[in-house]
């Protein structure tokens, strides 16, 4: 049983409560893949610094919604708007992780070193150590990716995204291979970055039980329709 309200439809040029325009705005979105309608009439606003969980059963359209937000679809009906400043960036955690197996964990993390963002390599290295220590993977940095287990790989993929210093993280099942303690660590660090840097998090998960233990807003999808939006603690 859900408590909450349906997402109010966003109207262009309308004033928002608190005066904070959404960082992501979706209006009357319909996505058709092949012959099937994957997302049906989605209206959604995600405010800067918000933590949002997209939940729903398999095939509900969670991944499609994330891909749409990431700008992977050119052909969709409706309007979508990213309210980014020049240096803002959308980081992603993919369900299939997308790691290079024959490189070490550290080499995989180096892909996030952007000289435009970090003052120098030392600063990047310091942040890399901070995050890996927090997640407890700092002693595995020299390990070849192919020899890492599923949970470790997931934490590496997560670290790589955080190291790119995004303003929005789109995470597709980022904790599906993790036990609750590690999943909690992931959430804690996201929460920390949310407080420290105003990071916006969009987290897709089929595990409603898990996300109900974290604080944030839940958007529940079913058969491509947005059926509920409200605070996680109300589940």
């Amino acid at each position: 049983m859900f408590f909450g309200s349906k997402e109010t439809t966003y109207k262009e040029n309308s004033t928002f409560i608190g005066g904070n325009p959404p960082i992501l705005h979706l209006q009357d979105i319909n996505v058709i893949l092949g012959n099937s309608l994957i997302l049906k009439n989605i209206n959604l606003n995600i405010t800067r610094g918000e933590i949002v969980f997209i939940t729903g059963p398999s095939g509900a359209g969670k991944t499609t919604l994330l891909r749409l937000m990431a700008g992977e679809f050119d052909h969709f009906k409706g309007r979508m708007h990213h309210n980014f400043t020049k240096d803002e960036f959308m980081g992603r955690i993919f369900q299939d992780l997308r790691l290079i197996e024959h490189l070490s964990i550290e080499q995989n993390l180096q892909f996030s070193y952007d000289p435009q963002i970090f003052k120098n390599k030392r600063e990047f290295q310091r942040e890399l150590l901070e995050i890996t220590k927090f997640l407890g993977i700092d002693r595995h940095l020299d390990l070849k990716m192919s020899k890492a287990n599923g949970g470790l790989k997931q934490l590496v993929a997560f670290t790589r995204t955080l190291l790119s210093r995004p303003s929005v993280v789109l995470a597709d099942e980022p904790t599906c291979s993790l036990d609750f303690d590690n999943a909690k660590k992931v959430f804690d660090i996201l929460n920390l970055y949310n407080v420290k840097r105003g990071l916006t998090v969009v987290w897709a998960s089929h595990n409603r039980e898990l996300v109900s233990k974290f604080s944030g807003r839940i958007i529940h999808l079913d058969k491509g329709k947005l059926v509920y939006t409200g605070h996680a603690c109300f589940i």
Binding site: R67, D87, D96, I100, H102, L103, F111, D114, S164
Partner: protein, 266 residues
């Protein structure tokens, strides 16, 4: 520089594939750029390889040496007859006599003669060579001519790798380039998929776009620059290398577009 570094790190991640791509790209660019010059060079080498034995003849300059040249050239078994410069011959003789302290005797020596170099066709029988020599003697007169010994060409009968190219015909160079191209294509195919993966991650986690395309084009152009510069020093230039370079770029871009770039279906 960032894009070249990206190419290098991709090469280092897969060293055999990377080195194969770099070496075949370099060879392909260089061989197409040097194609016109190579064809010329091979023709010269082949001609040299076909040369038979030769001998020198000194004839008094009073003789009509042009007529002699014409008559000898028309003989079967004679490849070419070259007239050696009168001034060069005189300078050489003076030099030799000078070394022997015989400069004072120069006044008594008649230096007015012309040198001829008669080149036989390759593998000409000894009997035919003797007949030709006898014919020249009769033509000029025994007293008016001095014949040098017949010198066999060192490479006569031997076929080097360069002669093989010429023996096979001018298309052999094209066949070589074709083979090289196929090799390059297979290395490029595998290398580009790796480059695409690396570039995809850079684009996803850094604020950059079209990394693979920029890296590939930057690398090919950097590799071609020294060869393009070399064109200005070569006697012959042609459009073939430019067309080849454009083809390499287009094919590389098509492979980058087609090759694996992580599955977008999750």
């Amino acid at each position: 520089m960032f894009y070249l570094k990206n190419m290098i790190s991709t090469c280092l991640a897969k060293p055999i594939m990377g080195m194969g791509f770099i070496v075949t790209s370099f060879l392909l660019i260089t061989s197409t750029f040097l194609l016109p010059t190579s064809q010329d060079y091979l023709k010269k080498v082949a001609k040299k390889g076909n040369d038979g034995p030769f001998f020198h003849a000194l004839i008094s300059s009073k003789e009509n040496f042009s007529r002699i040249k014409r008559k000898v050239t028309s003989l079967p078994g004679v490849e070419t007859v070259t007239i050696l410069s009168q001034n060069d011959l005189q300078a050489k003789v003076k030099g030799i006599l000078g070394n022997l302290d015989m400069e004072n005797d120069l006044a008594g020596i008649d230096l007015n003669f012309v040198g001829l170099k008669v080149l036989f066709k390759n593998k000409l029988k000894l009997k035919s060579q003797t007949l030709i020599r006898d014919y020249i003697k009769r033509l000029v007169g025994d007293r008016n001519i001095t014949l040098g010994a017949t010198v066999a060409t060192e490479e006569e009968g031997k076929i080097g790798p360069l002669q093989i190219f010429e023996k096979l015909g001018s298309w052999s160079l094209w066949a070589f380039i074709g083979l090289l191209f196929l090799l390059w294509l297979s290395f490029t195919w595998f290398f580009c998929s790796k480059l695409n993966e690396f570039s995809y991650l850079i684009e996803t986690y850094q604020r950059k776009t079209k990394v693979a395309v920029k890296s590939y084009l930057g690398f090919i152009l950097t590799m071609a620059l020294p060869t393009i510069a070399l064109i200005f020093f070569l006697p012959q230039s042609s459009w073939i290398p430019m067309i080849a370079l454009a083809i390499m770029m287009i094919i590389g871009l098509l492979i980058l577009k087609k090759s694996h770039r992580w599955s977008s279906e999750c």
